[in-house]
Amino acid sequence: MPSANVLVVDDEASLRKALRASLSVSGFLVAEAGSGDEALEALHQRVFELVLLDINMPGLSGIDICRRIRGFSPHTGIVMVTVRDFEEDKVRALEAGADDYVTKPFRLRELIARLHAVLRRTRAFESAGPSVLTAGELEIDIPKRRLTRRGEEIHLSPTEFDLLVFLMKNVGAPLTHTKLLRSVWGPEYGGELEYLRSYIRMLRKKIERNPASPEYILTEPWVGYRFRNPSDPDSPPVPAEDEE
């Protein structure tokens, strides 16, 4: 993947320094900003493909900056860094237009995988989307409305098909319940969690080898779902219990 330029926005100088050094050796071109205002100024001077944005900063909050960036640059990839495990923060970040989030403390590899995934999506967005999507053993042909697993056709209801297409188009991205409901069912939806859950359950029964421990449709606890491509080396691992 050609190297991308990243703007690291964090009020902690030592973390910025560590991120600059580590991301640079990992092939990114890194610039730093110590506050929201500095970040906005940098973004007006140059185009960045990626912004790594701390959610908790004195002054302009990460959420506000994210909204502003979305206002003038819809295709910049934004990854938010949250410190709390509060799901509300993650949901708020995604609703403000962030593409993904990582929670402090994160491993460098995890961060790089997220950045790559976001980059791939934003770059893909600029070319026309393919009409056939694949992930692991699944292949979905959008114009023919046909899903196969290892060549065998799986029958889906129209809504299940639309839901899966939406998930696969956003492979690797966390999708909130609200976003899924609005995008697949329509803008008047948003709160019908049980509805969404039952469709996810049915989809898992049809596409997963073991619906109880899914490898395609992962649950983002209390946030929503994330579609995973098991054959992508950057895809997040199937979540396991903390090692403590």
Binding site: S14, L108, T219
Partner: protein, 500 residues
């Protein structure tokens, strides 16, 4: 009712005074040659005045003396108690009757007035005492301060209170008759006491039919009538002070809790950024490569340990938050079987010297639960089972569907919980004596796990051997084991298939 000795003495003195007045009147009347009718009227006045003291006995005695004087000095034959004419006899008898009737009426009215006055005084004093006691700041209403108004307003020599709840005795004033001992004795004997010789009255007080203490008065006027209401008043105020103290202790504890959670929260957050920096730098060293094998291993150790600290911090934060807030599960269908498999696989890596296994019937074991919360509760149980058992111990997760419920048992061999600790282990911050020696922990794990179970409409209990059915005992580790049973609602069959 017979008059008391003191009253008798007072009546005698009063009667003597009346007799002296009568003697003086007789002398004057006789010298002035007054006749029977005038003299009897004068005598009647003396009897009426005497009755005004409210003392019927004295007035009656004076009435009889007056009749004798009339007979002796003013009826024929003079200087003899003999009565010659029927008219004189009738006159004397009617005098006596009139005198006695007047005496009775006047002294009764007088006695009633006196008693009403006493009653009013007593009420006034009770009112004063209660007002002063109510004005006391319950925060520093110590025993002595609390008793002082009794002494001042009722003028008692000494007053003593025994509070059974705290076992404290407080005395104010100078007792000459071992008031404190008498109060405690009365409490132990379980009955009120009244000693006319020493003037000590002790009254027990009770709350919800349980005797909670006693109060004693020495030198209390009007003892029989005043002691009871004073004891009731004392009890009410004592209860009020105790309630106040309990409430302030509870609010102080709640305040401490808020601070503790806030500090924990801040601390954990302050930890996370430096940890993220360490992790990023360690990751960067590895990315920068090429490293020698040793260097790479060291970088990996730094990364691994920092990540471990990070997860510990997150976990601590989550538990602290669950502890502080109400747990609101977001129910989903969870396969308890695969969750148990994941737990075992995970903890087997961490505790390589424990023998972990799962025992469950085949097929999906679907429970209705919040997956994150259930995972947290279960991991707490499995981790405890590993942490508090000896190396080589077996740890077993067994799942048993019951009608409408799902029972998940976590047992480990060879670390019996002392019976005195059994009912304490679910308390917040409780850590067993042995637990403190062997492993680190917050003392919140089981408390939060139970909170999670309850929020799901389930239960979490420590099972004793007799609870478990003998039929499946083969599935369990041998005796001296610890088994926790987590029960949550299962997904009803029709619910599973109705969807889609």
């Amino acid at each position: 009712m017979w008059p008391r000795p003191g009253d008798l003495k007072r009546s005698a003195v009063s009667a003597l005074l009346g007799a002296m007045v009568l003697a003086a009147l007789t002398f004057v009347s006789y010298r002035s040659h007054l006749d029977f009718s005038i003299a009897s009227l004068l005598y009647l006045m003396v009897v009426v005045v005497q009755s005004l003291s409210g003392d019927f006995l004295a007035a009656a005695a004076v009435s009889i003396l007056a009749v004798l004087c009339l007979d002796y000095f003013f009826t024929q034959p003079l200087f003899s108690l003999r009565i010659a004419s029927t008219a004189d006899a009738a006159a004397l008898i009617s005098f006596l009757a009139t005198a006695l009737v007047i005496t009775k009426l006047v002294s009764r009215a007088r006695a009633e007035a006196t008693s009403a006055k006493l009653q009013k005084e007593r009420l006034d004093r009770l009112y004063q005492v209660s007002q002063q006691l109510l004005m006391l700041d319950p925060d520093d209403a110590t025993g002595e301060k609390f008793l002082e108004p009794f002494q001042r307003i009722f003028g008692v020599t000494a007053v003593c209170i025994f509070d059974a709840e705290t076992g404290e005795t407080h005395v104010v004033g100078d007792s000459r008759h071992q008031l404190a001992e008498r109060v405690r004795d009365a409490y132990i004997m379980g009955r009120d006491s009244d000693d006319p010789n020493t003037g000590v009255a002790v009254r027990l007080f009770q709350t919800a039919s349980k005797i909670t203490g006693a109060v004693g008065f020495e030198g209390l006027r009007d003892r029989a009538d005043a002691a009871g209401p004073l004891a009731v008043l004392t009890n009410l105020l004592l209860e009020r002070i105790q309630e106040f103290r309990k409430a302030s202790a509870a609010s102080a504890a709640a305040q401490v809790e808020v601070y503790r959670a806030a500090i924990l929260d801040a601390l954990a957050h302050e930890f996370k950024t430096p940890l993220a920096t360490i992790l990023t730098a360690a990751g960067g060293i590895r990315e920068a490569g090429p490293l020698t094998e040793d260097q790479s291993e060291m970088a990996e150790t730094v990364e691994g340990e920092a990540a471990r600290l990070g997860r510990l911090t997150s976990r601590l934060l989550r538990v602290a938050r669950l502890d502080r807030d109400e747990v609101k599960p977001r129910m989903e269908t969870v396969d308890a079987g695969s969750l148990a498999d994941q737990m075992v696989a995970h903890y087997a890596r961490q505790f390589r010297d424990r023998r972990l296994s799962v025992s469950r019937p085949g097929g999906l074991m679907e429970a209705s639960a919040d997956p994150e919360l259930l995972r947290l509760a279960l991991s707490q149980l499995v981790e405890n089972a590993c942490k508090y058992s000896a190396p080589g111990a077996s740890v077993l997760i067994s799942i048993e569907p019951r009608p409408g419920r799902m029972a998940i048992r976590v047992s480990n061999s060879g670390s019996a919980i002392p019976s005195r600790e059994k009912r304490l282990i679910f308390d917040r911050f409780y850590r067993g004596a042995e637990a403190r020696q062997y492993a680190t922990g917050s003392g919140l794990g089981l408390y939060v796990a139970r909170k999670i179970a309850l929020a799901h409409g389930g239960t979490l209990d420590l099972e004793t051997r007799s609870d478990s059915s003998p039929s499946d005992s083969s599935m369990r580790p041998p005796n001296d084991d610890v088994t926790f049973c987590l029960e949550i609602p299962a997904v009803q069959e029709e619910e599973v298939h109705a969807v889609g």
